[in-house]
């Protein structure tokens, strides 16, 4: 069953793999913004939740012909998501203008079908209740509610920032449905020191992402699966573009930062 629906606004990200240094600022910014509890051991796959995860891609050549690229991976917010139709309780939907795949925690029954369906491993299951070191819960942001055990979660393109941008537009006489390019920027995009991530409306020709997504150097992850991600990757290196056809989760690309807790 296809759930594909067309929207006037299609939020999307273009990630330049030739600019990402793999510094991890985007990952940490995301955790802080969205109230992801810290964990003492990154190799404990039952506890690590990384909505944004930076993979390390290698060209498999020996020194000195070796090359490396870093691939930041948020949720792809697919136009044709495979997670949405499998949810038995409509806890994940793609029905809002903007095309962000939602995750409605109170509805989620934790069956994890969506996790199995997502080819990008962007979904995480809370095997445990989140725990903050004593006092650190006082630094929770108002932006994302906390999630208990038994619930699936994932990147939502900082949906609260979208809501805020619309509200601001309304309050200042702007057009909430036609936001300017810099009106709505997710936390990871904002934090990146090398500007490897840019964000905007893929359908608005005045937004950079609209132009860049059509570049000959742009490509999406696992295009052959037909999910039509709203996240594009760019690189001038052919080996990097070729890698985008591979499954990131098979471990053969090395350097997978956590993220193995999918069913």
């Amino acid at each position: 069953m296809s759930v594909q629906r067309e929207f006037h606004t299609k939020w999307g990200m273009v990630i330049d793999l030739d600019k990402c240094t793999g510094c991890g600022a985007c990952m940490v910014a995301c955790q802080v913004e969205n109230n992801i509890a810290p964990t003492p051991d990154a190799s404990d796959m039952t506890r690590v939740l990384t909505w944004m995860l930076v993979y390390k891609l290698e060209n498999k050549q020996k020194f000195p012909n070796y090359d490396v690229a870093y691939l930041p991976r948020p949720c792809m917010q697919c136009e044709n998501p495979s997670c949405v139709p499998v949810c038995p309780v409509v806890a994940t939907t793609k029905d809002e203008e903007g095309g962000i795949v939602s995750q409605i925690y109170p509805r989620c029954i934790g069956c994890r079908y969506c996790m199995a369906a997502c080819p990008y491993h962007v979904r995480y299951f809370n095997w445990f209740d989140p725990q903050w070191p004593a006092g650190m819960e006082k630094t929770l942001t108002p932006f994302s509610s906390t999630r208990p055990r038994g619930v699936v979660e994932k990147c939502h393109f900082c949906h609260h920032r979208f809501m805020a941008a619309k509200e601001k537009a309304r309050a200042t006489g702007g057009e909430p449905m036609k936001l300017a390019e810099d009106a709505y920027i997710p936390a990871c995009v904002e934090a990146c020191p090398t500007g490897a991530l840019i964000f905007g409306n893929l359908k608005d020709p005045t937004h950079q992402v609209a132009k860049l997504s059509h570049s000959k150097n742009a490509k999406r992850l696992l295009e052959r699966l037909g999910g039509k991600p709203q996240v594009y990757y760019m690189s001038k290196r052919q080996w990097v573009l070729d890698m985008l056809d591979n499954d990131l989760g098979d471990g053969s690309h090395g350097g997978v930062t956590g993220g193995g807790n999918h069913g």
Binding site: D18, K19, C20, T21, G22, C23, G24, A25, M27, V28, A29, Q31, V32, N35, P38, T39, D41, A42, S43, K56, E58, K62, F63, P64, Y66, D67, V68, A69, Y105, P106, P130, W132, P133, A134, M136, E137, K138, T139, L140, T141, P142, F143, S144, S145, T146, P148, H160, A164, E167, A187, E190, A191, P193, T194, I198, N217, M234, V256, T257, G258
Partner: protein, 712 residues
């Protein structure tokens, strides 16, 4: 603006500046109607504000905006108006709000009783400190991990007032660079105009991760390489491992750690052959030193690069319009002076002094604290050298050592020997926000507030191409019983009869702001960008320092100092030489990666998930080498190894990484913490243990890039 007005504004500043015209409401519907799990912490409800502050957890010097809800900080964003951030932020600074409640925060003053540290009141702590300092007289030393804040001025003034000269900086890139600049006859500090360069050659210096103003450097790269647009800056990285910066550079040149000076002077050789001359003093001496000590053959032995590769770098530099060379240690310390001096020499040969995209001589901060030691004087002291002598009992350990924002028990080379030397100190005082390794062994621990809990200033961090000054005022009152270190010291000083001229640190900062006015400058912002002003564009109206900094802005000045004393005479010390080999055949390439902490802060809780399972897992960490090196030494992927040097050993597993040069073991700093908390502990070993201090050729100062190790 007079002093009185400034005081009012700083105090007003603490009330917070609402930077967003429309506060965001709690906006996500899911957030609202899913607050129905009473057993997990709830998120706060309400509007948020952005309050300007500053991060000093790493060297980047970024101005930040702290997100607060009902006065409580909950997130930190890069400040888009701050020229060292432009909205970017490091993986450390981004969770500084969470660190307010780090399990490692020191929550009250602590004093040693036998093996334990017990809480005491501030009154008792100050009395004990005063008593020990009084008894010590002039037998007192201090070590500071901060070279940009006025806090260190207070410490150096105190030590000087007590009659001691022993004020030190912790080893850092900027310390070596400061000394190298002075050796060439430079006044003030060297600044790098990265934004206006069209080619940057980074020799060793990891400009996007550890060197200087790394967030600003990354932003300069970012803006000059717009996605899908015209490339305005090329970056070439010379480093022993294809590190993070090299991954995005236009070219990577593998070069052995510790041979950065040899590479730079090897390039100088080719430039001189091609007719380059500095036109300034010392050129003849430099040319003959380069010709005799850094011939292509010698440079090949030292660096592992062929003469053609080195000549190619020279060609690239010579053909760029606005090239800039940045040389330093590949791990932000221990690289000595020669590499920096050789890099500066290249800039002089290329005619890049006082040119857009080149180097500038920037004035030092004006001294305001009575009797504080000038930077030049502190740079003349070397903490590693001093501690080595203390350890060897060639020098008596001080009766009192004050450690300010410094963790020498963890971050010094040959750590175990250094910890033994620290043990000899009569009374070790740690002014620290966190229970780090130094606090854990101290006799007195005095908790300092984090920057967002105090008044703090920052003058021109190393790397910046222009003078800048930023002041942070408290965003929140200290969440634990912490008092600013400089305030403690000012009080104790007056009790001891030392007059440092101030009663509070806030007054020191105000005086500094006023003194800076003489330089003339402006408030930086999106419409007043220092790099544009440097090339004559968009001259902003001048503004007083107080006006600028009270709004959380960086105050910037284009002031320079006379650079006519610069000479190449001493820029080519020593001779290019191959690594020593022998019993320890492998060159160690330490890696400085900020996501696992800096020399000041251990892995913060929220950074743990950024550690790959090829970097640390199940209690151990990984050292990296290429497959040829691994098989040569009989090891391989996942195998356990002991890496030993003359001074220590560490245990690790091997991760095969083809981005590491032949004959090199790359090993990440930042692991192996014994203090701190469960987020930092139980992760591998401390690479500093196997860093071996040698004497830098031609300089005779401590040097530990290019430490040699073996697989035991």
């Amino acid at each position: 603006m007079g002093r009185r007005a400034f005081i009012g504004l700083v105090v007003g500043g603490t009330a917070g500046t609402l930077l967003t015209p429309i506060p965001w409401k709690l906006t996500d519907d899911a957030s609202i109607w899913s607050q129905n799990w009473p057993w997990i912490p709830r998120v706060p409800n309400g509007d948020f504000e952005l309050k300007p502050s500053l991060s000093k957890l790493d060297n980047s010097g970024v101005g930040v905006n702290v997100v607060t809800v009902k006065g409580r900080p909950c997130a930190v964003y890069g400040n888009p108006e701050h020229p060292l951030s432009r909205g970017g932020i490091s993986s450390l600074a981004v969770n500084e709000a969470e660190l307010l409640y780090s399990p490692s925060r020191v929550q009250s003053p602590l004093k040693r009783e036998g093996d334990s540290l017990i809480p005491i009141s501030w009154d008792d702590a100050k009395a004990l400190l005063a008593e020990k300092l009084k008894a010590a007289g002039s037998d007192v030393a201090c070590v500071s991990g901060d070279d940009t804040g006025s806090g260190t001025d207070v410490f150096s003034a105190f030590v000087a007032a007590a009659g001691s000269k022993l004020c030190f900086y912790m080893p850092a890139e900027q310390v070596d660079a400061g000394r190298a600049w002075q050796r060439l006859g430079g006044q003030g500090m060297v600044g790098y105009d990265i934004e206006n360069a069209d080619m940057v050659l980074a020799i060793g210096a990891d400009i996007f991760e550890s060197w200087g103003t790394h967030v600003r450097n990354a932003q300069a790269f970012n803006k000059a390489n717009p996605m899908g647009g015209e490339q305005a800056m090329r970056v070439v990285y010379a480093s022993p491992i294809k590190n993070r910066g090299a991954a995005v550079a236009d070219a990577w040149v593998p070069v052995l750690p510790g041979s950065e000076a040899a590479l730079a002077l090897g390039i100088a050789y080719h430039l001189i052959q091609g007719g380059a001359t500095s036109g300034g003093p010392g050129f003849e001496a430099f040319r003959s030193a380069v010709r005799s000590g850094y011939s292509p053959e010698k440079v090949q032995q030292a660096t592992g690069l062929t003469p053609e590769q080195v000549a190619d770098l020279a060609k690239r530099l010579a053909s760029a319009k606005r090239p800039l060379v940045i040389a330093g240690s590949s791990f932000g310390q221990g690289g000595g002076q020669n590499a920096v001096a050789a890099g500066l020499a290249l800039n002089l040969l290329l005619g890049r002094l006082n040119k857009a995209g080149g180097i500038y001589a920037l004035p030092e901060a004006p001294a305001v604290v009575q009797g504080s030691m000038p930077r030049r004087q502190i740079l003349a002291n070397d903490f590693v050298d001093y501690m080595l002598k203390v350890g060897a009992e060639q020098t008596k350990a001080p009766a009192v050592l004050l450690a300010y924002e410094a963790n020498p028990a963890y971050a010094l080379p040959q750590t175990e020997l250094m910890a033994q030397a620290l043990d000899k100190v009569g009374f070790l005082v740690s002014f620290s926000s966190f229970m780090d390794e130094t606090a854990a062994m101290a006799d007195l621990v005095l908790p300092t507030p984090l920057v967002m809990e105090r008044t703090e200033d920052m003058y021109t961090p190393y790397g910046s191409g222009w003078v800048n000054y930023t002041v942070a005022t408290p965003v929140i009152a200290p969440v634990f019983d912490a008092v600013p270190a400089a305030d403690v010291l000012l009080q104790v000083a007056s009790g001891l009869g030392h007059n440092l001229g101030f009663e509070s640190f806030e007054d020191v900062v105000k005086a500094k702001a006023e003194a800076l006015n003489a330089m003339g400058g402006f408030a930086a912002g999106a419409k007043a960008e220092p790099w544009k002003v440097r090339v004559g564009g968009g001259a902003p109206s001048s503004s007083g320092v107080s006006d600028a900094v009270q709004a959380g802005k960086a105050w910037v000045s284009m002031a320079t100092v006379n650079a006519s004393g610069l000479s190449l005479a001493k820029a080519a010390a020593g001779q290019a030489a191959a690594p020593a080999g022998g019993e320890f055949p492998l060159v160690l390439a330490p890696l400085f990666e900020l996501n696992v902490g800096s020399s000041k802060v251990a892995i913060p809780p929220h950074n743990v998930s950024t550690i790959r399972d090829t970097e640390a897992a199940n209690g151990h960490f990984f050292v990296r080498m290429n497959s040829a090196t691994a098989s040569k030494y009989g090891t391989g992927q996942g195998k356990q190894v002991t890496i030993a040097s003359k001074t220590g050993s560490i245990k690790a597993r091997v991760s095969i990484d083809e981005g590491v040069m032949d004959g090199v073991v790359a090993a990440p700093l930042g692991f192996g913490h014994t203090a701190w908390d469960k987020f930092a502990q139980n992760k591998g070993d401390n690479v500093s243990k196997v860093l071996t201090v040698a004497s830098e050729p031609g300089v005779a100062a401590p040097f530990w890039a290019g430490s040699m190790v073996k697989i035991a």
